[in-house]
């Protein structure tokens, strides 16, 4: 895996990348589009402070519920705040939540999964806990978790992360278990390779591909679940304009000021769609066998 990456890099030259891109385009057009959309959305969000024409928090009560137009591209919300600016800033929050949940849950899941796959005694306990967590529907668990602490991005991230962990653990554990049985690992163990080295050299690389794919799906679903939590009134605080939050606040006006939910929704759907498309492509690229795995 690392080797092939290095090879790829050493070949790099402009013509080579262009050819590579063309080949990618032919084989995985959807994931390329997905990647492109995702990057654009990310750039827009990151550059929000420079791109946004208004302060996303500034209420201008005289200008409430303005239609989209020259001054306000996406119109204004019920507080007279500029929806375009809010949508740009919202992207940062939603992206942050997607990335943090994906990162945190894969990291924690990886650790627990390796532990469970490696030690039979830990396995029994850990997997029972994971089964227990799996049995509680994620949204219910997140809702219940949300009532624990002051709402904030951190709490939302934790609440969405916890229900995702068992899925990662199962995936990692399965890979570890199958890798363990391989002859070369058995040989490595027999020759006295130490555990950390074993992990780093053999187990980790094998789990990486499915993990990356899983992480993209988790990121996509985290962005969606955040919007569900906001919809149900237990999401990020209203001070933090995530997309889910903007939609939840604007949904009351769907009949008289539909732009309140249309604009952020399009962005939200585009983001989730692009991550999913990218994930599908990665899955096919990294390991065709993965197609059968439950997403």
């Amino acid at each position: 895996m690392t080797q092939s990456l290095q090879q790829g890099l050493s070949h790099s030259g402009l013509s080579a990348t262009r050819a590579g891109l063309r080949r990618l385009w032919r084989r995985y057009p959807l994931s390329l589009i997905g990647g492109f959309v995702l990057i654009s959305l990310t750039v827009l969000s990151v550059l929000a402070p420079w791109l946004a024409p208004f302060d996303p928090f500034e209420m201008n009560v005289v200008d409430r519920l303005r239609e989209p137009g020259e001054e306000y591209f996406f119109g204004t919300d019920a507080y007279g705040r500029d929806l375009f600016s809010r949508t740009l800033y919202g992207g940062r929050i939603s992206l942050l939540i997607g990335l943090s949940v994906a990162g945190l849950s894969t990291l924690i899941g990886l650790l627990i999964g390796i532990l469970a796959g490696y030690s039979r005694s830990a396995d029994a306990v850990l997997m029972r806990i994971m089964d227990g967590l799996m049995a509680i529907p994620g949204i219910l668990l997140a809702i219940a978790l949300m009532s624990l602490a002051r709402p904030g991005i951190g709490v939302v991230v934790v609440a969405i992360t916890i229900p995702e962990i068992p899925r990662v653990v199962r995936l990692v554990r399965a890979v570890v278990l199958s890798v363990r049985e391989q002859v070369y690992i058995q040989a490595a163990i027999a020759t006295g390779t130490r555990l950390p080295r074993l992990m780093l050299k053999h187990i980790l690389p094998n789990t990486l591909a499915p993990l990356i794919v899983q992480a993209t799906y988790i990121a996509a679903s985290a962005v969606l679940i955040e919007s569900y939590l906001s919809f149900l009134g237990v999401g990020t605080p209203p001070e933090v304009p995530s997309w889910g939050n903007i939609i939840a606040e604007g949904r009351l006006y769907v009949q008289i000021a539909p732009w309140n939910i249309v604009c952020p929704s399009v962005f939200l759907a585009l983001m989730v769609l692009s991550i999913n498309m990218l994930g599908d492509g990665l899955r096919d690229m990294l390991d065709p066998r993965l197609q059968t795995r439950v997403r």
């Binding site: 002051r150 709402p151 009351l252 009949q255 008289i256």
Partner: protein
Amino acid sequence: MRQIARFFLRSSLILSVMTGLLGLFSGSTGSLAQDRDKTLKVVVHANLQILDPVWTTAFITMRHGYLVYDTLYAVNSKFEPKPQMASGHEVLDNGLAYRISLRPGLKFHDGSPVRALDAVTSIKRWMARDPMGQRMNSVTASIEPLNELTFEIRLKEQWGLVIEALAKAANPAFIMPEKVALTPANTQITDPVGSGPYIFVKEEWRPGSKVVYRRNPDYIARNEPADYMAGGKRALMERIEWLYIPDHNTALAALTAGEVDYFEAPPLDFINTLERNKNLKTVDIDPLGTQGLIRPNSLYPPFNDIRARQALAHLVKQEDYMRVVVGNPALYKPFCGSFFHCGSDNGIQLGSEPFRQPNVDKAKQLLKEAGYNGEKIVVLQPTDRAQYNAATMVLIQSLRRAGVNVDVQAVDWSTLLSRRASRNQPEQGGYHLFITTQGGPDTAMPVSNVWFNTRCENANPGWACDMELDAMVAAWSRERDPLARRPILEKIHRRAWETLPYVIFGEYTQPIAVQANLHGIVAAGMPVYWNIERK
């Protein structure tokens, strides 16, 4: 290609059968049409969970109370107490005894007659719980039945508000059967038997979704026309269904589609849209309106200092709040400077003059004088109550403009209710500011306006503390002559704008929205369901 077609044909067979069934059934609702005509379907603002209107002050339980119970007295639209279950009363012994008689023939839902003993027991239970009842209790020597239909209240000292208290519109003294009313006041009753115009149908109660009432065939309505809470409560609908639809969008759609008849609290931004719809109309049932208030916590700095509370008042531009909370300019006044409802007889605005226009510089200066130096000010923001949430947003922005270091703590309403009761330091689970609303004839009187109570420890959360003001209110309540009350009221109002138990952020109207074919809706300050018919 032919194979694809065949494949699809086979696999979608079940789907088409389902669709066919659907078409078949879509026309089959006609048989229920007649029941529908005599049924009033109401979207209520909250979920009815507690059936004891004395034990809880929740508005939804109070409205339930008005359906299943009746009161001895009730106020009319001039806020004069009128007999309801009572046939009349005599004042004896120079105002120290009230002898009240019941109308004959009244019955509880279980068929037993309403007796003086039931009324006495119910009043006693209510006096143990309600703030105005407690005031009455402190001046009451005894309440005893004299015979089946008459009872007597004896006072220790003169108190001008006995009949007003019994006629109180919010959290009133509902009359329950004696065996129910014997329940201690701090224990919930669960038996919803009353003598009111509607009967609670327990079997069909689905908390969180649906409450059903049926007409009480034995109810004897008074002959006078319905007028606010007073007059004849004629139960014209056979059946009333309360639906709790928490998603306002869904509720609006259901009203537009004619699935429900009556929407208790339509979002105010939609009033114009609803009025344009020929099948619907909006009705203003609350002549007094709703008062929005910002409640400072008087236990801790800076708001334990009068000057900080005055600074807060200097920051409020009511019109900004109203634009965001209400939107439609027809539904609010740009400024209301009365603690007791601008539209009521007590609606004087004395003392409010310096606060008509916001003055940020003055506010900054006052805050400084009060010793405020950039400490965190904790504001509780209820995210699941649209109007409160909106007002809090404006409050936060105005505080920040004045250089206040605001710590916004977003919570759901239920958490806010428990947070606001906490006497802890603001940084340890307490708070500095929160927003709420109140309304109705209770707000219009200094003695029954619950947030105006300034008895320190015994006041509502926020613990407004001004015993001098409270002494004035007590003096006002002892005075029976309306003319002599006026100067006391003026003194109270001036004082209140100085010590500020709370800051008003506006007064507005919350109309209801109903199907255009509903008639006879009573403007009673809150949704009541008698007198309504479909034409």
